[in-house]
Each structure stands twice: as C-alpha cells, then as structure tokens.
Symmetry: C2
Subunit: 400 residues, 2 copies
C-alpha cells in the first residue's frame, strides 16, 4: 500500500446557497473525523475569499449536537461568495494552501466552484505540490453536468410544488390569471418541477415556460388567453431565465427598456420586474381580467420548514463521499450521483468524475421533458423528479 497523503484540509461553500448545503458541509466534517490522513479541518469563511484572507474556523471542535443543528439550517453556515477566481486568484489560494500544509480541498458549489477547484488543482500539479481537490455538487438549478441530479434541487422542487398547489387553489377561489416566476437561471428543472402540482385535469400549472424554449410575448399571451377561455382562470409558471426567440433573456430586455435605472448586471432574482412585465403584457390583450404575479424569490432556496428528506440525505452523502474519495486511491474530481430504480425502488450511488467535465458548462433541461409547443412539461418528467420530493398534501375539491 502506498503512503497516504497526510496534512490539513480546507472546506468552503460557494455560490447561491440551498436549504441542504450544510448537510454536505456536515457530511465532510463527519467523514474527516473518520480519516486519519487529515489533521486539521479549516472552514473557509465566505469560500475562496476566506482562503485568500486566511479567515478559517476550526470545524473539528464543533460538537455532534451542534453539527446536527447546523445540518438542518438553510444557507451556507460558513458564508458563501460570488467571486469568480482567475489564475492569479487561484495562485494565491494555492499559496495559502502550501503555507498551511493543506493537502485536501473540498469545495461545495455549482459549476463555477468546480472550475475554481479545477484551476487550483492544475496549479498544484504544475508546482508538483500534492493536493487533492474534491468538488461537492450543490445547486437548486440542478444544472450540473455528469451527475444525475444535484443536492439542493429536491428541496427547492418541494417548495415550488407546494407553493404552486396552494397558489392554484388561491387562483380557483378568485379566478383570473396568475403568473409565478421560478428560479433556475438558464435551466428549466425547477420550473418544470411545478408540474407535480398538476394532479387533476383542471389543476394548474396550466402552462410552464422554461429557458430551453424561447418564446415570443405574442405566443405567451396567446397561450394564457386560450387557457383562460377554457377554464375561466389560468396559472402559468415561468422560469426567471425565459428568453425571446432571438435568445436574449426577457429580463435583460426589460432592464434595457428601463434604461433610466439600469445598474449593469442582469439580476434575475430579488426583483419582481419579469413578473410585472409579463402581467402587463397580458393586460394589454385582456385588460379587464384579474391579473396577479408572484416571484417566489429566495424562499425557494432557503425555506426551512419543508425539507426533502431524500435531498437532505443525498447532500450529506455527497459530502461524506467527497472525503472518502479524497482519502482513498482517487485523484481530484467531482462527486456525482447515479440513479438506480424507479419510484419506491429509487436509490443513488455516488461516483467521481473529473473536475474539468463538471466545470465545462451547464446542463439544460433535456428536450424529452418539454412538450412540443414549448409551453408545458411532459409527463415523463414525473419519474425523474418525484423520488426527490416527499408526498404532496392530499387536497379536496367541492364540485361547483
């Protein structure tokens, strides 16, 4: 047996947090305590930024009791960062690692984080410094390459499907047209998960728009009108990243319209601009109809009351396996999940892939899940998403 790499470890959290990202962190901490090759475990405060500033906290001293509370707490307990490290930035990270005899780096995040991990790993290799870098997947957008799905997505999908069930009953009560904006950036997975709310023929959502299928405002308004004429009401779900047929994101177009208070970056979340724009467009054609819009916002990634147990388990599992792979005869890489079985027989196993393959880009919602008209989700998406979402509430209807 070869000599095991001995030294310290750093763990960090990056990007938009999720409700289960701390499960992964606690999984890392738990497994590090099992592995003799790792001495100290430094938690980087605010991700890579904390590494540069050598802002670390000793994670091994946290009690088991406190760890369970932290695991159940939404959002990044270590703090997160939106920094996108370039080569120079990564070189400084690497120098901090070398100085502190850091031989293991666990980075919990999306594809930007995988890319950071990839660059740091390359720099270490070039310098002949032994370092294992393991990326732990995390994103409610569910858009990471290679892995079947991502920790964080199941809980966000649980929130969204519950929210849409409730909102659909609200819309039944008072009628009219309702538009709900769902997170997901360039990927439609989270918006698609709202299809779980549709259980009876007349249930909403009646329309679901995803970024993978560009849509004109004319078509959108036409679709909504048709549903309204059919049911006397309409609940439409749209991903924040929906785009026009020229492939420009609608939110970007709106912000250009509102040039007067333009702030530069395209901000998809934390604003009601897209929702208000869509309802205004509908109002132009159907001026007398009750029209409302909600942007589900940050609750989708942070709501603490309603976790997906499967998602929480898998997030913890991915964290543990990251350390397990690092301590074993594996090179640097990204933890992935593979799915076996359907329905009740659903289970996952992890495997490890190269950092480059996850850093390479984002995964769109596969075409097979989107209906031909591009305004709804096919029933086969149910098999994909339903194992990740706990049973939805039983509801009752009074026939009118």
């Amino acid at each position: 047996m070869s000599t095991q790499l001995k030294g310290n470890a750093v763990v960090g959290q990056s990007g938009g947090p999720t409700a289960v990202i701390n499960q992964s962190l606690v999984g890392v901490i738990e497994e590090v305590c099992e592995q003799d090759c790792i001495n100290d475990l430094y938690g980087a405060i605010h991700g890579t930024r904390g590494i540069l500033e050598e802002r670390f906290t000793d994670l091994k001293k946290i009690s088991r009791h406190d760890l369970e509370h932290i695991a159940n707490t939404p959002a990044a307990a270590l703090g997160s960062t939106r920094d996108k490290p370039d080569e120079q930035y990564c070189l400084r990270i690497f120098e901090v690692f070398r100085k502190n005899n850091v031989r293991y780096f666990f980075y919990i995040g999306g594809n930007d984080s995988a890319n950071t991990a990839h660059i740091v790993n390359k720099l270490a290799q070039q310098a002949g410094y032994e370092l294992k870098v393991i990326h732990v997947p995390k994103t409610i957008d569910n858009d990471l390459l290679v892995t079947d799905h991502c920790p964080g997505f199941g809980t966000a999908a649980t929130f969204v499907s519950h929210a849409v069930i409730g909102d659909d009953f609200d819309n039944r009560s008072l009628g009219g047209i309702k538009v709900d904006i769902v997170m997901g950036r360039d990927a439609g997975f989270l918006a698609a998960s709202s299809m779980l709310a549709h259980r009876r023929e007349d249930d909403g959502p009646h329309l679901i728009y995803v970024p993978e299928r560009p849509i004109t405002m004319e078509q959108f308004v036409q679709d909504v009108s048709e549903v309204y004429n059919r049911y006397g009401r309409c609940l439409a779900v749209a991903s924040e990243g929906i785009r026009d047929v020229d492939n420009v994101i609608w939110t970007k177009k709106i912000q250009q319209d509102l040039e007067a208070d333009a702030h530069g970056n395209v901000q998809l979340s934390g604003t009601g601009a897209l929702a208000d724009f869509l309802t205004a467009k509908i109002k132009e054609k159907l001026p007398k109809i009750r029209m409302r819009a909600d942007t589900f916002g940050y609750l989708q990634r942070s709501f603490p009351g309603l976790l997906s147990p499967v998602d929480a388990y898998e997030a913890r599992y991915c964290g543990r396996m990251a350390v397990y792979y690092a301590a074993g005869p594996y090179t640097s890489g990204s933890v992935c999940m593979q799915r076996f079985g359907k329905g009740d027989r659903y289970r996952v196993e992890t495997f490890i892939t190269t950092l480059a393959s996850v850093a390479a880009g984002a995964k769109p919602l596969p075409d097979e899940f989107i209906n031909e008209a591009g305004n709804n989700i096919n029933p086969n998406f149910y098999d994909y998403v339903s194992p990740l979402v706990p049973p939805l509430p039983d509801v009752g209807y009074i026939e009118r």
Copy 2:
C-alpha cells in the same frame, strides 16, 4: 321552550382566502349535521355572487372522508368573491333566501363580509322575515375588531416567520441588504410576526415597518444604512401597506396604474413594485452594496405545507360555534375569540358580538407592540403571537 326556527341554511366564503378558511367551512358543515333545525345546507359558489345567481351545491352529501381533505386544502373551496354588496344587492340576496326558505346564513370572511351580513340581516328584520346571520371571522391580516385574533393569521404568521428565518440565513451567506414585503393591508400584524425569526442578537429581521407608523424614504434608507454598518448586512421586513408621513400608502405613490376592487382597495399584492422601489431608494445611497428584495405574495395565505395546528383548530371551532349560536337562543352576530392564559396555558373560548361592531372598521396593530422609533416590534408582541405559531426550526450557527 320557544319554537326553534326551522329552514334551510346557506354558507359562503368571501374575500382573500386563507390556508384554513376551509376548516371553518367544514366546521359549519359538521355542526349543521348535528342540528335538527337546519334542513338543507347550500354552499354558495363564489360567495354572494353565487347567491344572486342561485349557484348552490348540496354540502350535506359530502362524505366525512372528503370533508377532511377539503378542510386541509388552502383557499376557498366554494370559491370567493370581491363583490361589495350595496342595499340593492343585499335585497336580491334576501329575495333568494326567502324563495328558498333560507333561515340561516353563515358568511366566512373579513370585515367587508361582516358588513354584507349586517345589511342582509337588517333587510330581513325590516321585512319581518326570521333569519339568523352569523359571520365567521377569517383574515390573515388579523385586523378584525372585537375578536382577540382571527383564524388564518396563525398559519400566515407561521409561513412568514419560517420564510424570514430562511431568508436571514441566506442573507448571512452572501451579505448585503435584503428587503421582504409582507401582506397585511392596513394592519401590521403579519409583518410584526416576522419578529419570531429574531432569536439571536444578530438575527434578522433587523427592521420591521408597519402601516401604523408612517415613514419617510429618508428615514428608511437611514435605518437600513445603520444596520448595514453595524452587521455588514441588513434584513428589513416591510408591510405592503407602509405609508409616507402624509399618510398616503407608498405603493399608491409609486404605482401609476392602480387596480382597485369594488371595495376601493388598491392592489397591494401580486406585484413586486414596492420591493423594487425600496431597493432602488437604498441603492441611491449605497450604490455598491448587494441589494435584493422579495415580495412574499400569495404564498402567505395559500402555502399548504406548513399549517399552524392551533390556527386550523380555531378556524374549525369558529365554524362549528357559528352554527351552535345560530341554533341556540342567540340573535345574528359575529363569532369572536377570547384568549385565556399565556404560553402553554393558552386557550380560547368563543363568544358572539353584533355584526355592526365587526363591520365598523379594521383593527390596527396596537401601539404598545411598536417600538418608539417605529422601525421594529416590541418583545411583548411575542406573547401575543407565539401561541398561534408552532415551534420554529432549531438552527445552528458556525461562529465566524
């Protein structure tokens, strides 16, 4: 013993629904089945509008099994209405009642509904037609006069306090300033309930604004800056009904195209306009700070995943007691709750008050609950709200 009034009954639901309004409906149905004086129980589809159009459904034929599912379903199962009946409208309601030998009318709603009940009751008296009209309280705004609190509020407060806990951890992760807009119309109860999320000294919400205390934009931005300077972040909660010092609602000031319903209520919800306005104001002073806003929207009154058991129980109880009062030696009126005991010893009893006293207006958040600066809620509000909200999730922090 005097002869009991015999005949049919009508029940309807009105105004903005809640997540437990069907508990009250099912309470009415259950108790009607216990009372011999009521023959048929007609459910009015879409409230008073359904009465005018004689759109009724036979509620006695629904099975117990289905009733439990309906009770657990958010929003008005019979459909709701925003119609504000005048004398003429009420006269037509009364004619439908007379024609169908309706001797009992149960109306589940807020103070507008109490007013409708009041007018219909007066018309029946003037015509010498024996009719008992019982108003069943319902509103997430918690702004009904006489009653200690209102069914629907506890569940909405549960959603809001959970949402703010999650959002506060999200804000800790990435820093910056976050503004959350909470429902409540002219009353600050629901925004105030977000104070439950504040458990540790540095927890948000750091600021809570309610309609009862007018605020200038200068003061608002100043408050937010001070919190930001202190904690490096700020989570502020604002009621949708906050107003300027000239007592004009901020949303009214910023919205060009206001949609008002028949009651003269402006549309406060279903738009992100106020949230976006507030963040733009902060940005003028702190242009480089990360700034986000969410409008919690209709989820506050419809989210099905997280009910308050106390609220669900009380909503059912008020529905049952409405029928009990109607069948007993009571005149028309509105069901109210009185609170006894604190904390674990909390319990309620119902009593009945006049329709006029509830129809008379709306109850503001009492001044004793608002801090002197008008930008937060006093700790004594905890005793008022906490019995209505189930235990909040345990959370854990990593000290940075």
